[in-house]
């Protein structure tokens, strides 16, 4: 009995590791053609699905061709942008191909670069965190320390219910109500990086606030009392005792929220715009990795499919890196406390 139980729990534990590695391996295998083709330049290349002419050794006038390529690149960028703005669901690379078709398909190839969605993901997440962290902390402090219990209970339940709302609903709210509102008061379009960041922020606030409140509530009453007994005010008790005591739980909740924001698809798909342009100001529309993946899989094949998998690998590594960095940081802090 004992050994069966041991083996069962061991199997469950190994399953996690197996899943993690197999997901990564599968992503990597599918992404392999794109990785071979574009290498690390993929990360910094802003072009996505752009057809370019390639230099072949047969071409005599190399200088001229290079010029032509640059010209065409610029042209393609413009075309693509307009195309996407008009109708981002159409397969623009095909239409571009037909536009530029001159019979010599052997000399053209499609270039994929993940720079725009990577930047879009990182920026929208940063915006969301900048917006959400202070508000969530305020809510948590209020609920755990300041509010009267009669008020803290219903508000706490409301926060937990908010955390349970499916993200697509946040997306719809963002698209139809919040986006136009932001665009009216801040300017820019009603779908933009800013709107995406704010909607993401609104989405993760309840989540972060309720986790933070829970970890603040674990501060022993006697520890708070002894600070009050020293003559501390409520603010000082929160700052000097509760925050340091609950620090680990608070940072943990921030990181869970960060992970959620990085991978959020539906809410962002509604409000980020979904265009492959580098945002010059925060009110410009752009695109994020999960949105690209969700929007483009249906009409992808071959290299474009592989490029999507490459993006997925990037997202995987990004989230993984953020969370492991945070874990690592915590363990170090924990050791500092307990090793004197």
């Amino acid at each position: 009995m004992e050994s069966v139980f041991k083996k069962l729990s061991l199997t469950s534990a190994t399953l996690i590791l197996l899943l993690l590695t197999s997901i990564f391996v599968v992503l990597f295998i599918y992404a392999k053609p794109a990785i071979d083709e574009f290498g690390l330049k993929f990360l910094t290349d802003p072009r996505w699905g752009v057809t370019v002419q390639v230099d072949t050794p047969k071409v005599d006038k190399q200088v001229a061709t290079t010029e032509q390529v640059t010209d065409e690149m610029a042209q393609n960028d413009n075309l693509q942008t307009e195309d996407l703005l008009l109708d981002d669901s159409s397969d623009n690379s095909d239409s571009l191909l037909t536009d530029d078709e001159d019979g010599s398909t052997a000399n053209t190839k499609e270039v994929y670069g993940g720079f725009v969605p990577i930047v879009g993901t990182v920026l929208s997440t940063i915006l969301a965190m900048l917006f959400a962290v202070p508000i969530a902390m305020g809510i948590a402090v209020f609920l755990s320390e300041i509010a009267h219990p009669l008020l803290a209970k219903p508000v706490g339940v409301a926060i937990e219910l908010l955390a349970a709302i499916p993200s697509i609903i946040y997306g719809m709210w963002g698209l139809f109500y919040f986006g136009p509102l932001v665009s009216k008061y801040v300017g820019g379009q009603s779908v933009s990086l800013l709107v995406a960041g704010l909607v993401l922020g609104v989405m993760i606030i309840p989540f972060m606030a309720s986790l933070t409140r829970d970890s603040m509530n674990t501060t022993p009453a006697v520890l708070k009392e002894s600070a009050y007994a020293m003559g501390a005010t409520k603010f000082e008790v929160i700052k000097d005792v509760i925050f340091p005591y609950a620090k680990q739980g608070i940072i943990g909740s921030i990181i869970l929220a960060l992970g959620r924001a990085l991978g959020e698809t539906m809410a962002v798909a509604f409000v980020i715009g979904g265009v492959f342009t580098f945002p010059k100001v925060v009110t410009d529309p752009t695109v994020s990795i999960p949105v690209v993946l969700a929007n483009s899989f249906a009409e992808s094949s071959g290299m474009s499919m592989s490029a999507l998998f490459y993006l997925a690998v990037v997202l995987f590594v990004l989230s993984f890196a953020v969370i492991s960095f945070a874990k690592f940081y915590f363990l170090r802090n924990k050791n500092e406390i307990f090793n004197k």
């Binding site: 006697v222 708070k224 009392e225 002894s226 600070a227 007994a229 020293m230 003559g231 000097d240 406390i337």
Partner: protein, 259 residues
């Protein structure tokens, strides 16, 4: 004999409780003496102690009746009349408290002891350093920690942590110190060290101590109050209470027949 605190006709009722937890308590805390509060669990001795610095006010809805007087500049003030937070803060600086479990704050040893000083308005760095050293010496901790003041207080042993809490409380030079079963979480050696310290401290402050340990009360206190079910049954000199109790309940309790 001079009283630093006088409790007069004191009633205490917890929020929504139908009956008062403490009834008609009359008790004096004498200057530079140790007053022990003993009694079985639930008799209200901790509640009484926690009323003396109004720490129970952190949980709203308590009802106080009667008077608790504290001597401030040779005048008796009723601390139950304090309403504003700054008055309560002032009160808690005059009446310090040590809890059942050591409660070091998550900061360095030095910062723990200096914590109350900044609320007392002491800003000069050299004065803070002097007061911290004096407090740690007063708590018989200086020689053990003087080389690791910058280290986290959470790395100390339980007995050291409790002495740190005492150092932290005496750093602000209070008039009264309240001990709420300060040794209940400690081993016998640490307990002996704390007891010795409490006896030394009465040179400088007046002390009220709640204890479950009757030997402890008889060893260290000058006066003892026996409480039972919210009533103060008997109050007198420790020797008299333990050797020659007037009330039968007191006698039964200290001889171990109940409680």
């Amino acid at each position: 004999m001079k009283n630093v605190m006088e409790i007069k006709d004191f009633y205490f009722t917890y929020p929504k409780a139908p009956k008062p937890t403490l009834k008609n308590i009359n008790l004096n805390i004498e200057e530079n003496k140790i007053t022990a509060l003993i009694g079985p669990s639930g008799c209200g001795k901790s509640t009484l102690l926690r009323s003396l610095n109004r720490i129970q006010d952190l949980y709203p809805g308590n009802k106080y009746d009667g008077e608790i007087l504290l001597k401030i500049n040779d005048k008796m003030e009723n601390i139950l009349e304090y309403k504003k937070e700054n008055k309560l803060i002032e009160l808690r600086q005059r009446v310090g408290m040590i809890f059942q479990k050591p409660t070091p704050f998550p900061m360095s040893i030095f910062d723990n002891v200096a914590y109350g000083l900044k609320f007392a308005g002491i800003k000069s760095k050299s004065e803070i350093e002097g007061r911290v050293e004096k407090a740690l010496q007063g708590a018989a901790l200086w020689s053990e920690v003087k080389d690791r003041l910058k280290e986290s207080a959470l790395g100390m042993s339980g007995g050291q942590q409790q002495r740190l809490c005492i150092a932290r409380a005496i750093a602000v030079e209070p008039e009264v110190l309240l001990f709420d079963e300060p040794t209940s979480a400690l081993d016998p050696i640490s307990t002996a060290a704390i007891e010795e310290l409490v006896v030394e401290l009465k040179e400088r402050v007046s002390i009220a101590i709640v204890t479950h340990n009757m030997q402890q009360a008889s060893r260290i206190s000058d006066y003892t109050a026996f409480m039972y079910l919210g009533d103060l049954v008997e109050f007198g000199e420790t020797e008299q209470i333990f050797l020659n109790p007037k009330e039968k309940q007191t006698e039964d309790y200290i001889t171990g027949r109940f409680g």
